[in-house]
């Protein structure tokens, strides 16, 4: 893997100036998770609007550039989308969003933490349980 390839301008920009960073005053979904391996923390809050769409979404957290940029970009992508879109979201979508960096197995977890928190929150709201497909990944 090439670090110049991973740490593109885009990732660094989102790391230092994350979009949708903060808390919502009113929200319907509040989910958080940590990556025990590296201590990355992430919390997402969502206000659900008409037609079960993501009306507002914000996140807070601390962690590496990959986890924080990925979470921020994901909130931008998710805003305005129906909740069902979250159910369809795949890790390939996240990799594509990040520009398909060549990440090693431990860093993949950083990249996917945002998606995991988003899914935990939305699945819970929909009365379902989100199961991490491969927790040992």
């Amino acid at each position: 893997m090439s670090s110049a390839d991973i740490y593109k301008e885009l990732i660094l920009d989102y790391y230092r100036n994350p979009k949708n960073f903060g808390k919502l005053e009113k929200f319907d979904i509040d989910a958080r998770d940590t990556n025990p391996l590296c201590g990355d923390e992430l919390e997402m809050q969502i206000r659900v609007g008409e037609g079960r769409k993501i009306e507002e979404i914000k996140f807070t957290g601390k962690g590496c550039a990959i986890s924080q940029a990925s979470a921020s970009m994901l909130t931008e992508l998710a805003k305005g989308k129906p909740l069902d879109w979250v159910k369809q979201l795949s890790k390939e979508d996240v990799f594509k969003m990040l520009g398909n960096p060549d990440l090693g197995p431990s860093r993949v977890k950083c990249a996917l933490l945002g998606m995991k928190v988003l899914k935990i929150g939305v699945y819970g709201y929909l009365g379902a349980q989100y199961e991490d497909p491969d927790p040992t990944l």
Partner: protein, 412 residues
């Protein structure tokens, strides 16, 4: 290659086959020794020799292989005990430091700690010297209290003295911090703790591999360390304890090996230390640890320490020239082990480790199993470079070059 001139670095490096490998096309620069060290050929050979020549169970088989295995296992115990200033009778082989502290928790703690007791540890401990005491306190209704730290990353002895006034049942402290590198005066701490009536537990995971250690002189009741951090195999370590304490304690792992007689309604225990070595022991790795001790003894632990002090001194000087470089722990190299925890501006340690890995440089990044200490430092994580006998000034230079690259990528 610039040498510290304390040990013959080229000869030492030739003993470690893994150092010949490349990572991402670069020379491997292994600076994650506080997590685990590499193994010299002598240790690898000892393991292969055991399995290919005299593999057998110990203590019961009277055939030739059994006798040879038992002799090698006990010779290893004697070697390891001598290496740390103890005697074979007082050295229990365990899987590692974590198993050692858990042995103390169950075999000593369950019997001796009562509701309302105070247990003391410190803010600079590895989780293996915190969590067992948390669980012990919870199961007994005792309270776990923490010795604070001073801004330079040394123990706040005033807070320690204040806690001693509460007559703690136990004081658990690390000999050398795996994050800050702080070397604690454990002899003085144990003496004071004993005067207050406490039983003492010392975590030697980061001291025994790096400096001369004399447990008799320290005077601790329990002293724990791991083999894999001192050039030995994984899965083997030791708990050194006063014989009288071991004799008073109940067994930990019960079953074979640790018994004297078994009846239907009760059993009697084997003598110490065998009472605490239930089941088939880790014979091969114990012998491998003996080979590691031979290797370190041949170099001389005072020289190993001096080698690391020089590397540390050089590294602290040259790395502090980097923009945004912040190091944690005492500035005086005489008071710290060969561990440097640091951060580089706002670059997260995991990003740093990824960039360094591309340069063949292996460091540790994260909370180092010391989350209370991370909270005290007010950081989520740090990067950590740690040395052993095969590291050179060149390795420090490679680390610096990697950090410069990371700084450029992140526009520090």
């Amino acid at each position: 290659m610039l040498k510290t001139e304390v040990i013959d670095i080229e000869k030492v490096r030739a003993d470690f086959p893994i150092l010949k490998r490349e990572v991402h096309g670069k020379r491997l620069v292994y600076l994650d020794n506080a997590a685990t060290t590499q193994k010299p050929q002598q240790v690898i050979d000892a393991l292969v020799d055991f399995y290919s020549r005299y593999n057998s169970n110990v203590h019961r088989s009277v055939h030739t292989l059994g006798e040879e295995a038992t002799a090698a296992y006990e010779a290893s115990r004697a070697k390891v005990a001598r290496f740390v200033g103890s005697v074979p009778r007082e050295l229990v082989f365990v899987r590692g430091t974590t198993e050692a502290t858990n042995l103390v928790r169950f075999a000593w703690g369950e019997k001796n700690v009562k509701a309302g007791d105070v247990l003391v540890t410190t803010l600079m401990e590895h989780h293996s010297n915190i969590v067992p005491w948390q669980l012990l306190a919870r199961s007994k209704g005792a309270t776990l209290k923490f010795v604070g730290l001073k801004p330079d990353g040394t123990l706040d002895m005033a807070s320690f003295e204040a806690l001693l006034k509460e007559a703690p049942k136990m004081v658990a402290v690390t000999h050398c911090s795996n994050v800050l590198g702080t070397i604690n005066d454990v002899a003085a701490i144990c003496a004071k703790a004993h005067s207050a009536g406490a039983t003492t537990v010392v975590d030697g995971a980061q001291s025994v591999p790096h400096m001369p250690v004399d447990i008799a002189a320290i005077g601790s009741d329990f002293y724990a360390f791991s083999g894999h951090k001192m050039l030995g195999p994984t899965g083997i370590g030791a708990l050194v304890a006063r014989k009288q304490l071991l004799e008073e304690m109940d067994p930990f792992n019960s079953g074979g090996e640790m018994i004297r007689e078994v009846f239907l309604d009760h059993s009697t225990w084997n003598e110490v230390p065998y009472k605490f070595e239930g089941g088939t022991v880790n014979i091969a790795d114990s012998i491998g640890l003996g080979a590691a001790v031979d290797y370190l003894t041949s170099l001389g632990m005072a020289k190993v320490r001096e080698h690391e002090v020089r590397l540390l001194d050089y590294a602290l000087q040259t790395l502090s020239e980097l923009k945004g470089f912040k190091v944690y722990g005492p500035g005086d190299v005489a008071k710290r082990g060969g561990v440097i925890s640091f951060n580089l501006a706002d670059v997260h340690p995991h990003d740093l480790a990824t960039i360094l890995d591309e340069e063949g440089v292996a460091i540790r990044s994260g909370h180092h199993c010391a989350q209370p200490l991370m909270n005290w430092l007010d950081v989520a994580a740090t990067s950590r470079a740690s040395f052993h006998v095969y590291n050179s000034y060149d390795d420090v230079d490679a680390l610096k070059a990697g950090l410069q690259k990371a700084g450029a990528i992140f526009k520090v």
